[in-house]
């Protein structure tokens, strides 16, 4: 049996007990002094954390508003200590990972007066994090006791965008469906059907500004059009909890988001109008397909914010709300590898005159987590008359997605 861990408190108590017993039994005064010193040190180690957090305040400085998973950011905490006694081993707890509870974030070895401590933060998880009060904790000096205190701090929001990989292939259908040939817009940009109005965002075309509404509202309002052209790409997300396996960064949900982001980036780079379809709170939501930067930013924003919900899976609501789904184009559909579901989804896509592009997750690798020795995780793609299916194993190189 191998001992993995030892509690320091038990070790110290054993140390004191041995020293004290020898000192008392043999009447060794020298050890009596050592025993007193050790006992005082142990008691002090239990008490000191309380004093460490008195007269100390902290606030966030130089915090970014946006970040990208995997890209380092510099953030700072300004700590102010009142009194002459420096504080050692103060831990800052924040919600940079989006947890409900503040978790261990930064360790200050020593701080005194007013001092800004800067740290490198490399976000590991996309999301929209609401930063509220900061918790301070101290276990100085030996970690025998823990003391914590909440510090009121200015509320902040950080959006962490998902990362992406550079895809080499994106098989988007390039031919027009006969049904839509007469509907192709003669206008530049292909706007042919008004989708709605929205506030102006960077990247929107000037000619799309709805001047009348702008004058009425006092802010720039632009018209959104739906591209009724066939060479467009729709990313269809399935946000039902039951349809995903694995947790956190290595779960299939995060993999889906990363792939969706990569697809959107690739589509924008190649000038393919890209849109997003997903369902939350019993509503089918759409980001209309377009090839402009504003649409990409909007998609990225949605991808950063959305999460899983207990709701109907895509295979169900695609049938039930098919009228709300876009027509034509190529759909990137995510599936857990169930053949029956894939067939049903393919049917739904065909009904909307779209070509399905399936991304499936190797369920076993996501559930079991650890790969077998010598089993290199990879992406396997096979094409058939029913569509292209890419199966992604956990840890696979996503740049090989849709590789013919």
């Amino acid at each position: 049996m191998q001992v993995r861990s030892l509690p320091l408190g038990a070790v110290l108590i054993a140390w004191i007990a041995v020293t004290a017993l020898i000192a008392l039994n043999r009447g060794i005064d020298l050890l009596w002094g050592v025993t007193i010193l050790l006992s005082v040190a142990t008691l002090l180690a239990l008490v000191l954390p309380k004093f460490q957090l008195r007269g100390i305040s902290v606030r966030r400085v130089d915090f970014p508003t946006t970040a990208v998973v995997g890209c380092a950011e510099t953030i700072g905490y300004e700590v102010e200590v009142r009194g002459w006694w420096p504080r050692f081993g103060v831990e800052i707890q924040d919600r940079l990972q989006g947890q409900e509870r503040a978790e261990a974030t930064a360790f200050l070895a020593q701080t005194k007066g007013r001092k800004t401590h800067t740290f490198r933060w490399t976000p590991g998880m996309r999301g929209c994090w609401q930063l509220r009060d900061i918790a301070l904790e101290s276990r100085y000096p030996l970690g025998l006791a823990r003391s914590s205190r909440m510090c009121a701090a200015e509320q902040r929001e950080i959006i962490v965008y998902p990362d992406f990989v550079q895809l080499h292939w994106l098989p988007v259908r390039n031919d027009a469906h006969p049904r839509f040939e007469h509907m192709v817009s003669p206008r530049r940009g292909g706007h042919d059907e008004l989708f709605g109005l929205k506030s102006y965002a960077a990247g929107d075309e000037m000619r799309a500004i709805h001047w009348r509404m702008t004058a009425r509202r006092g802010e720039i309002v632009v018209k959104e059009y739906e591209h009724h052209q066939d060479r467009q790409l729709w990313i269809v997300l399935d946000l039902a909890e039951a349809q995903h396996v694995g947790r956190g960064v290595n779960g299939s949900c995060e993999q889906m988001i990363r792939i969706a982001h990569s697809v959107a980036v690739k589509a924008c780079e190649t000038g393919i109008p890209v849109g997003l379809v997903y369902r939350v709170a019993d509503q089918v939501m759409r980001v209309p397909a377009a090839a402009d930067r504003a649409t990409y930013l909007r998609i990225r924003d949605v991808l950063a914010r959305i999460g899983l919900h207990a709701q109907l899976p895509l295979v169900r609501w695609a049938q039930r709300f098919r009228e709300q789904l876009p027509s034509g184009g190529t759909w990137v559909i995510f599936n857990l590898g169930d053949a029956a579901e894939r067939a049903a989804l393919e049917r739904s896509a065909r009904q909307r005159l779209a070509a399905p592009l399936f991304v499936e997750f190797d369920k076993r690798s996501y559930v079991e987590g650890v790969q077998q020795a010598g089993d290199v995780p990879r992406v396997r793609t096979h094409a058939s008359a029913r569509g292209i299916v890419s199966t992604v194993a956990r840890g696979a190189d996503l740049s090989e997605l849709f590789k013919p």
Binding site: R4, L37, L44, G89, A104, F107, A109, Q110, L142
Partner: protein
């Protein structure tokens, strides 16, 4: 804590090294010989230092793990060999300590994970505990405190590294390696010292039996002829020692105080030598631990003739010890006195012990017990012998009292033929108002303590007591005079009495707790037979009364120890340096204690007066704090001063370099030291991340000014670049030293460069 976590930080190396060195210091404080202690300590510290260097060099090698394991194994093998060698020659404990140190060194070289650091800590602690049992020196406490500091520092570092590992964020610039361990240990020490000084120390429990050294293998001839067994009675003491068989006396039973032989010098100790050889007389003869400050009694004398005390022949029994231990049936005594004696010098065969032994552990197969409860070993006691015993005494009105096991032949202890009528009348007059025997005895004792003076001048006449002259003329003398006088005065009022000789324990060393019994502590006192037992009386004013000491506080012990030390040194040689030092130490301590007592008393009576005191303490503390800050600043400013002096003689290129050095000094002040491998550009980036406002073009300007550049075509451009450096907008920099440096540099360049 995961004990298999790697030792990520380099700071572990220094912490482990300090733990080993501190453990080493504590261990060598147990050495009796200062030269052996010093040489052993230096040797091991050098070895540990070598291991540190070795560790660094091995770690940088490509095959670090294999090489470090090879070196570690080699050290362990050498340690094992030395252990076996020392086991044969020096015994188990020294050999084990050597092995422990070797194991520490081996683990230190190969240490890769937290478990190894803890192993080093445990090994050093083991050495410390062994040393504590052996050590008789206060230096051990220094070593132990040092070790505690080092150990707490290591544990604090461990805690910090452990917490840092679990953090989400890493600092953008490496933080200094302070852990606060030193501050923590200092606070602990400051709290522990008053507790140590003022909380009474408990006596030893002696669970698991009394301690003694192993019996000697080769028995030597006992001191004097051994009596045949036939003379010994099985049920009652029937054997008789030779007439006038004084155990200490070569003078046919004449009274002698303790006469140890100083084995180191090979000469017989004699009180006559006291005046001539003070150094030897004041040497430590034995170390004793005692739960009560009871005399170490050696012998008893009952007959006073021709101004000398004699010991009549006594029957004895030879007690057989069962594996070095024996229990002796004893009349009840409510005070259990535990004593442990370790001889430093060779002594004669007398067993020095508290009266009333009930349990004895002694390194021999047998021991003689005389009827009057004097114990004599079968052979002389050699230096290094350790024995322990438990005695049973009773406290009667605060005085030690030995309940007699059997009826005492009172006539034997009442013979006072030599007592003159003058002495008898003195005794009667002093006790006229006392009704009980006890009151009479105490009156006589207090008379001698109060009206007579103790002196060493009469010590050369040891063994001879001019009683009449002492009592009625000189009224000055050493302990024998007092003891003889009291015994005869007691007999004059019909109280049986006898003179006991042995050692007075004096005061224990307040740090080690050991009574350091010296040759000068050889003593004589009186036992009076009252109410069925022997009451101990101390007529000599120099010595404390035979009663339990009031306080076991270390502070009180220091008080008494210093007082005693000063008295002894003054008595020995009032003009000596040691006497002056002892007096100064005593007076300083008295003043300190008095001040403390006054503060406490004032605090109790006039709490409101505390405020000014606290303010004064705060002021002194603040002054000390600012002085420390100033000292630290002065120390930090040395590098800046060097830069400034060099700036006075710099040219433009050197000025650029100096500016860069100033930036580095500023960075160092903030804990951002430039890593050797980092380029200047990387270092500037580090500074910018830490909030130092360095202009973006600084590095380019530096490169141009320092190294020249292809883009710079003439000297004017170069000078302009240098000026750009000097005009750096660093005035807002929080570091005042950097601003000073820049101001000097700017002035210097104005002189050097055309505008």
């Amino acid at each position: 804590m995961n004990i298999h976590a790697p030792l990520a930080a380099r700071a572990y190396d220094s912490r482990m090294w300090w733990v080993m060195v501190a453990g080493c210091a504590a261990r060598f404080s147990a050495e009796r010989s200062p030269s052996a202690a010093f040489s052993g300590f230096v040797l091991w510290v050098l070895l540990f230092g070598g291991c540190w260097i070795l560790r660094g060099s091995v770690r940088s090698a490509a095959d670090a793990t294999r090489r470090s394991q090879t070196v570690g194994n080699a050290i362990a093998i050498v340690g094992l060999s030395v252990f076996l060698l020392r086991l044969n020659s020096d015994g188990l404990v020294p050999a084990l300590l050597t092995f422990l140190f070797a194991i520490q060194a081996a683990v230190f070289v190969t240490a890769t994970k937290r478990l190894h650091a803890w192993l080093i800590l445990a090994a050093a602690l083991g050495g410390l505990l062994f040393a504590a049992a052996e050590s008789r020196s206060p230096l051990f406490l220094v070593g132990a405190v040092w070790f505690t500091f080092a150990a707490l520092g290591l544990l604090a570092l461990d805690q910090r590294v452990d917490r840092e590992r679990s953090m989400l964020l890493a600092p953008s610039v490496p933080e200094h390696r302070r852990t606060g361990g030193f501050a923590f240990a200092t606070i602990a020490l400051l709290i522990a010292v008053p507790i140590y000084l003022f909380v009474p120390k408990p006596a030893g429990w002696s669970l698991g039996g009394l301690q003694a050294t192993a019996p000697r293998q080769q028995r030597e001839e006992p001191h004097g002829d051994r009596l045949p067994r036939e003379q010994q009675a099985a049920d009652a003491p029937a054997g008789e020692g030779p007439a006038d068989s004084s155990p200490n006396s070569a003078d046919s039973g004449a009274l002698q105080t303790a006469q140890p032989q100083l084995g180191d010098y090979g000469q017989t100790f004699s009180p006559d030598e006291v005046q001539r050889d003070r150094k030897n007389a004041n040497a430590i003869v034995l170390y004793a631990r005692s739960s009560h400050p009871v005399y170490l009694r050696g012998s008893l004398y009952d007959r006073f003739e021709n101004d000398r005390w004699h010991r009549d022949s006594q029957p004895f029994v030879e007690l057989q010890l069962d594996r070095g231990a024996i229990e002796i049936p004893r009349a009840y005594g409510e005070e259990r006195i535990r004593q442990s004696v370790e001889l430093v010098a060779d002594l004669e065969a007398t067993l020095w012990h508290a009266p009333g032994i009930s349990r004895l552990r002694f390194p021999d197969a047998s021991i003689r017990r005389y009827r009057d409860d004097v114990f004599i070993a079968t052979q002389p006691l050699r230096a290094g012998t350790v024995y322990s015993l438990e005695s049973q005494l009773t406290l009667r009105d605060g005085r030690y009292f030995l309940v007699a096991d059997e009826a005492v032949d009172a006539e034997r202890y009442l013979s006072a033929e030599v007592a003159s009528e003058r002495l008898r009348s003195l005794a009667r007059s002093l006790t006229a108002r006392d009704s009980s025997a006890r009151a009479k005895a105490l009156s006589l004792e207090s008379h001698l303590r109060e009206h007579f003076e103790y002196t060493f001048e009469t010590v050369p006449q040891q063994g001879y007591t001019p009683l009449e002259r002492f009592l009625f003329e000189t009224k000055r003398g050493h302990c024998e005079y007092f003891a003889s006088a009291l015994a005869m005065l007691l007999r004059a009022v019909d109280i049986p009495s006898r003179v006991a000789t042995g050692f007075s324990l004096g005061e224990p060393n307040p740090v080690t707790g050991y009574y350091e019994v010296r040759g000068l502590d050889g003593h004589a006192w009186v036992e009076a037979y009252i109410d069925g037992g022997w009451l101990m009386l101390e007529p000599t004013p120099f010595y404390p009364l035979p009663q339990p000491s009031g306080q076991q506080q270390v502070a009180a012990q220091i008080d008494r120890y210093l007082e005693r030390l000063a008295q002894t040194t003054e008595l020995l040689n009032p003009q000596s340096l040691s006497a002056s030092v002892a007096s100064i130490a005593r007076d300083a301590w008295r003043a300190t204690r008095h001040a403390l007592r006054v503060v406490v008393t004032e605090a109790r009576t006039r709490a409101w007066m505390l405020l000014p005191g606290l303010v004064a303490i705060a002021l002194v503390g603040a002054l000390g704090y600012f002085a420390a800050l100033w000292m630290a600043d002065w120390s930090d400013n040395r590098d800046v001063r060097e830069v400034l002096s060099r700036a006075q003689k710099s040219d433009s290129s050197a000025a650029a370099l100096l500016t860069a050095q100033a930036l580095q000094a500023s960075g160092k002040h903030r804990g951002l030291e430039r890593i050797e491998s980092a380029s200047f550009r990387e270092y500037i980036e580090t500074l910018e991340q830490a909030g130092v406002a360095v202009p973006m073009d600084f590095v380019e300007s530096f490169d141009v000014a320092r190294y020249g550049s292809a883009s710079v075509t003439n000297a004017t451009d170069s000078q302009a670049q240098v000026r750009a450096i000097v005009e750096l907008q660093l005035q807002n920099d929080p570091c005042p030293r950097l601003r000073r440096v820049l101001a000097v540099l700017r002035q210097r360049l104005r002189e050097l460069l055309p505008t």
